[in-house]
């Protein structure tokens, strides 16, 4: 068998100094219109940051068809797929002074770009390698049934990303061939990337940043722990 | 005084007989030296130093001057290690396997002549014997691979079996040319022929078969490279795929035996190659006016081994040089190479030699 290309040193790789025609916002609007013509009202919301990026949120049911439509429209390159948990963390960063008044934890769920109604969302990114444009596509995951259509038959690479998402967020994927854990042991309980999953490393040890400067004996403690020694002049 | 002794020495040489027991001890000691000295020398010279220099580093420098005692230190380390064996291993033969490999090396050295009288045995069919016992190590390797109860070892053992058998054939065929030219299978006779022979009437340089049998020499050395499982033919060991293949489960002393056997065999095969193709222990007899083996001066028994060792180290140097420079073949590529290239080539070489022998 002869080698596919005989010359081991191909000398004519394409050469460019400047980026090839970069996508404008007109192109991004065209993408939305094109997608709307395929999946119609399933597009819930869109957002374009000028000369930068494009977000599209589709309805839960249209997750698979939207992916298919985008793939047909030239978005053949699968970048990633993952989940989002919009609930604010009840634990904070673990860097609170225990002597302080405990703050009321924020429980209001506020979704990011293109909004949403549910606590969990899945989002994925696809790229059109010819037009050099990418799109982030989002969908709500119903709170009562955390299951989405799987993209793994659409984009083979989604297989692993969905497994990861399932293990980290507990979001199931219908028609996924093999939804085992990737990282964690099979009998692991809980979904680590959910905001209500505590990060043990920050729980088991007291924060060393707690002010540990003993006050002067028999002196009032109103003074700030930080001394003004620094501004010596 | 010394000069006088030296002058008188040849006269009583034929009568100077050694008792049988002393001869036996001499032979055992000689055999150990002829196996272990090359092994140690090769490991230090090539594995520690040449490889390091080729990679722009110095190699071991701490144990002894320039790290020359490093091998002894390593031996000490290996001796101390626990003699581990996998739970499911077939213990008796698992423990036997390294010894079989080492024994085959000792069996090989038996026929290598180091001087006109300095041999262990002088078989009439020396080269036949050498090729025959050279394959014994395959048994050891297969046993090691099978008895380790490890899939990597098994794959390595099977690869080794297939490879060593495939390369036995070109090796035999390559020596055939030499045997035809020398009209003998006795290694000492082959050396004598090389050192008394002449090429197109020029006898000044003798007739080392590397010149007339160059193709045979190449095939022989390639086959040796494969027999020794050195890169580019090291797939039975293949540390990056099979994690050292049949040696995976061996540790401590038993690994040491494998290790010594590997390099000792490299030395012994190079001894044989030197005897077959490079004129062995001899210098062209014409230089000193000798006619045949019987004429050779007594001191060749002491100079001969030095010449042999020099040639051996040169050949091993080439083997190691190749080893440190090349990536390895795939198993099927290796078999293809043996059966489709080397064997036809060796057959053609034999045929041409035979025809020329008859014609000339």
């Amino acid at each position: 068998m002869a080698p596919l290309s005989d010359d081991t040193t191909i000398k004519d790789g394409p050469s460019t100094d400047a980026p090839a025609a970069l996508p404008g916002d007109g192109l991004r609007e065209g993408i939305i219109d094109n997608l709307r013509s395929h999946i119609g009202e399933a597009i819930v919301d869109t957002k374009i940051t000028p000369n930068d990026d494009l977000w599209i949120r589709v309805s839960t049911e249209a997750w698979l068809t939207a992916g298919q439509a985008l793939k047909n429209a030239g978005f053949t390159y699968f970048c990633f797929l993952s989940g989002l948990d919009w609930m604010p963390s009840p634990y904070g960063t673990g860097e609170e002074d225990p002597d302080d008044e405990p703050k009321e934890p924020d429980t209001e769920i506020v979704q990011g770009y293109t909004g949403g109604e549910t606590r969990f969302q899945v989002f994925a990114r696809l790229t059109d390698l010819n037009r050099h444009v990418g799109v982030t596509i989002k969908a709500d995951v119903p709170d009562d049934r955390l299951v989405m259509e799987s993209w793994s038959h659409l984009f083979a690479g989604a297989n692993w990303h969905e497994r990861e998402c399932h293990e980290m967020y507990g979001i199931g994927f219908d028609n996924h061939p093999d939804l085992r854990n990737m990282y964690l042991p099979g009998d692991f309980e809980g979904y680590p990337l959910r905001k209500d999953f505590p990060l043990l490393a920050r729980m088991v040890k007291p924060w060393p940043g707690i002010v540990d400067v003993e006050p002067m004996p028999a002196e009032d403690e109103a003074e700030s722990p930080v001394d003004d020694k620094g501004d010596e002049s | 005084m010394l000069a006088q002794l030296a002058a008188e020495f040849p006269d009583f040489w034929p009568e100077w007989s050694i008792p049988y027991w002393l001869m036996s001890i001499l032979r055992v000691v000689g055999g150990l030296v002829a196996v272990l000295l090359p092994a140690g020398g090769i490991v230090y010279l090539f594995l520690f130093k040449m490889m390091s220099f080729m990679q722009s580093r110095l190699g071991p420098m701490e144990a002894g001057p320039y790290g020359s005692m490093q091998l002894l230190a390593e031996v000490g380390k290996w001796m101390q290690k626990e003699d581990l064996a996998p739970e499911n291993a077939d213990l008796r033969i698992y423990r036997m396997a390294p010894l079989i490999v080492l024994v085959s090396t000792f069996l090989l050295i038996v026929v290598v002549p180091f001087g006109p009288q300095a041999w262990f045995t002088n078989f009439e069919t020396g080269i036949f014997y050498a090729l025959a016992v050279g394959s014994v190590s395959v048994l050891g390797i297969l046993i090691a691979g099978w008895s380790s109860a490890n899939k990597y070892s098994l794959l390595g053992g099977l690869r080794a079996g297939g490879q060593l058998i495939a390369y036995e054939l070109p090796m035999v065929l390559a020596t055939l040319g030499v045997v035809i030219q020398a009209e003998s299978m006795n290694l000492n006779r082959i050396i004598e022929v090389q050192n008394t022979g002449e090429i197109f009437g020029i006898g000044w340089f003798g007739n080392p078969f590397i010149i007339t049998q160059f193709v045979g020499f190449l095939i022989f050395m390639i086959a040796v490279q494969a027999e020794l499982t050195q890169a580019p033919f090291d797939m039975p060991i293949a540390e990056s795929e099979l994690v050292s293949g049949y040696m995976t489960e061996y540790s401590g002393f038993r690994f040491l035996i494998f290790f010594i056997a590997e390099f000792a065999t490299a030395g012994v095969f190079s001894f044989i190659a030197a005897a077959l193709f490079l004129g062995g222990w001899g210098v062209p007899f014409e230089w000193f006016g000798w006619d045949n083996l019987g004429d050779v001066a007594w001191w060749m028994n002491f100079v001969g081994p030095v010449i042999m060792f020099t040639k051996m180290f040169a050949l091993v140097g080439v083997i190691m040089w190749v080893r440190f420079s090349y990536p390895r073949f795939r198993e099927d590529q290796l078999q293809t190479f043996a059966w489709k290239v080397l064997i036809p080539l060796a057959l053609a070489n034999t045929a041409v030699t035979a025809i020329l022998k008859v014609v000339l």
Partner: protein
């Protein structure tokens, strides 16, 4: 897409392997665990292979032995603290990991680093690519039993690491990039030193070309093995040199508008039509040469000025979402940063190249022999920290 003969053969072999699994077997297959402790897995990847003889009929990588949960850890860290984490994702080209994250944060804050910082960023980015890929080139030999190249690679990578350490203070984990610029300017004499080191690396590329790529044994091991057609590559999200080796002309340094100074240099994006192991390795060799070229050119074009814009002492990133990806040594590495206006990110999705690159392994290993498993894995080039994060 038209398939070449070789690609068809590869398909046929994998199909045959599939068929063999489905029929009643007279012989029993063997399951071989390659890893998690195995010299060819660059760490702790485990590949379960079902073998028929030495032919792989089914293979699956098992990742996760090194999962460090960085996406969770980012939730309890401030933006400057996250940089130290992402350093450790692809630990061979660590500066390159910082850049997309910092760029994403800068995008949310709507600031841009000063031009001097951008050029220095680009230089360090390319230097970490050289450091990363040169080790790949050396390691490639080890996977095939040639032990000399890896020592040469370690030797010459040292020049680059010394440079990175000289400028940033960290050999492997520079933590030099800051939101709004760089931590510090370059020390005196660094530019001259870099010129010398880059020349050495160019020589290293030539040495490797002679020692390894020119070797007929190496070529026979790599040519036509592990062919990945372009459509499969995009399906799995292969990026970087792996995608370009399949003929996909896609390089994020060139094909996106990003505040790095690649447009100041004249360089090439190499592609190869074959998509086999050889192509992937060869592309990386060429890329190292291109990187050397980029660095040499940019060294002359460092503008004068500050390396840091004005940013508040305590950085609070405004609410929003941003996605920035760059062409890292291993492929496309991106960060999807969600900020809620706090000191730290609300969520960071780390899209690492190796995760996608290695997910193709079950497809690519079907029907190949055990020795080819090693070469295909080596040519796909993954780093465990980049898979597991």
């Amino acid at each position: 897409m038209t398939l070449t003969d070789r690609q068809q053969l590869s398909y046929i072999a994998s199909q045959a392997a599939d068929a063999r699994l489905n029929v009643e077997l007279e012989t029993e297959g063997m399951t071989l665990n390659i890893g998690p402790q195995h010299p060819a897995t660059h760490g702790t990847l485990r590949i379960i292979c079902r073998l028929d003889g030495e032919q792989v009929v089914w293979a699956e990588p098992v990742a996760g032995y090194m999962h460090r949960g960085y996406e969770k850890l980012t939730e309890v860290r401030t933006f400057p603290q996250v940089t130290t984490l992402v350093n450790r994702i692809d630990w061979l080209g660590s500066f390159a990991n910082e850049v997309p994250f910092i760029l994403a944060a800068e995008k949310l804050m709507e600031i841009e680093a000063p031009p001097r910082a951008q050029v220095i960023r680009t230089i360090l980015f390319e230097l970490s690519r050289i450091a990363n890929v040169s080790l790949f080139l050396g390691d490639l030999g080890v996977q095939m039993g040639a032990i000399t190249p890896v020592f040469l690679a370690f030797r010459d990578r040292e020049y680059i690491l010394n440079l990175i350490e000289g400028a940033t203070g960290g050999r492997f984990h520079p933590n030099f990039d800051r939101i709004g610029g760089l931590k510090d300017d370059l020390p005196k004499g660094w530019i001259e030193e870099t010129r010398g080191a880059v020349k050495k690396l160019e020589q290293f590329c030539d040495t490797i070309d002679d020692l390894l790529f020119g070797n007929e044994i190496f070529q026979s091991r790599m040519r036509g093995i592990g062919i990945i057609p372009a459509d499969i590559a995009t399906d799995y999200g292969l990026s970087g040199a792996n995608a370009r080796a399949s003929g996909i002309d896609w390089d994020l340094r060139r094909d996106q508008d990003i505040p790095l100074s690649y447009d100041l240099a004249d360089w090439k994006v190499w592609t190869h039509p074959d998509g086999d192991s050889w192509a992937r390795c060869w592309i990386r060799l060429q890329e190292t040469r291109e990187s050397c070229k980029i660095v040499t050119q940019l060294l002359d074009q460092i503008p004068a000025g500050p390396v840091m814009t004005k940013v508040p002492r305590i950085i609070k990133v405004p609410e929003g979402e941003a996605w920035v990806s760059t062409e890292n040594p291993l492929g496309e590495m991106g960060y999807y940063v969600v900020s809620k206006g706090g000191l730290g990110p609300f969520r960071v999705k780390i899209r690492s190249a190796s995760f996608n690159n290695i997910s193709i392994v079950p497809w690519a290993l079907k029907g190949v022999y055990v020795p080819d498993v090693i070469t295909i894995l080596a040519s796909l080039y993954f780093i465990l920290g980049d898979i597991d994060r």
